[in-house]
Amino acid sequence: MSTVADVLSWGFLLTGSFFVISGGIGVIRMPDLFTRLHCSGVTDTGGAGLVLVGLMFQGGLSLVTLKLLFILGFLWFSSPVSTYALARAALAGGEEPFWAEDLDLPPSARIPGFSPRPVPGEGEE
């Protein structure tokens, strides 16, 4: 039983570490604020969640696991809220999202179905 728990714990911790690191790299590499927000969200919910679940398998059925569960719940609650607040404040503050046109790709390389940059006053909802 404990071997199974250990293996599961290993798996969760390693997957979580992968998510955490990939999100961290994304925060450095991504071109604009909103794509960076996406990466930070991956570490905050996916990575943190997996790491905490991995720790729960180590804690067993105890108060420790309960506390980890609480931490997980509050993280999953407060982190999206602050991400939302940040994105909204950035939009209101005039931060421009990064559009596919900014990449300067030839028209053949465009992703089909990818919405072009909206022209102000035309076709907006």
Binding site: F74, F77, S78, V81, Y84, A85, R88
Partner: protein, 141 residues
């Protein structure tokens, strides 16, 4: 404008949780990390969060200034009062052993009351400072 509804709902959910957690820190301080100072700061953080989202005006309706100031002084008075009580009951100042028949129980009561005093003072002081600073921001930044 109702587009801040997410923040408001989130605040309404998380503020009671923070208050509850502050009480846990306060009364669990004998067994784990924490104590009066930390609990007071966390308690005031909940009200500061409320003030950030709902505005200072509404927070003043929930928690008027005179209550906060009263808290700031009541805590110190409670602390000193415990010391005086132990003097009245025949011990030295802040010697809690005389507060109950069993010295250990006396120590327990004394520590509980003293930590409560610290928490109330710290809570009052933090919120007072926040009120004073937040109310006096300039508009022309």
């Amino acid at each position: 404008m109702s587009d801040q509804i997410i923040l408001r709902v989130a605040t309404k959910i998380i503020v009671p949780t923070i208050l509850l957690y502050a009480l846990y820190v306060q009364f669990h301080g004998d067994y784990g990390p924490g104590g009066g100072f930390q609990a007071g700061v966390i308690f005031s953080a909940a009200f500061i969060l409320y003030a950030l989202v709902f505005g200072l005006r509404r927070t003043h309706r929930v928690l008027p200034t005179w209550v906060v100031r009263g808290c700031a002084s009541a805590g110190v008075l409670l602390y000193g009062g415990v010391g005086l009580a132990s003097m009245v009951m025949g011990g030295a100042f802040l010697d809690y052993g005389v507060l109950a028949h069993d010295p250990k129980h006396g120590q327990h009561y004394g520590i509980l009351l003293v930590e409560l005093g610290v928490m109330i003072t710290v809570f009052g002081v933090m919120v007072t400072i926040f009120y004073f600073f937040a109310a006096r921001g300039r508009e022309d930044l």
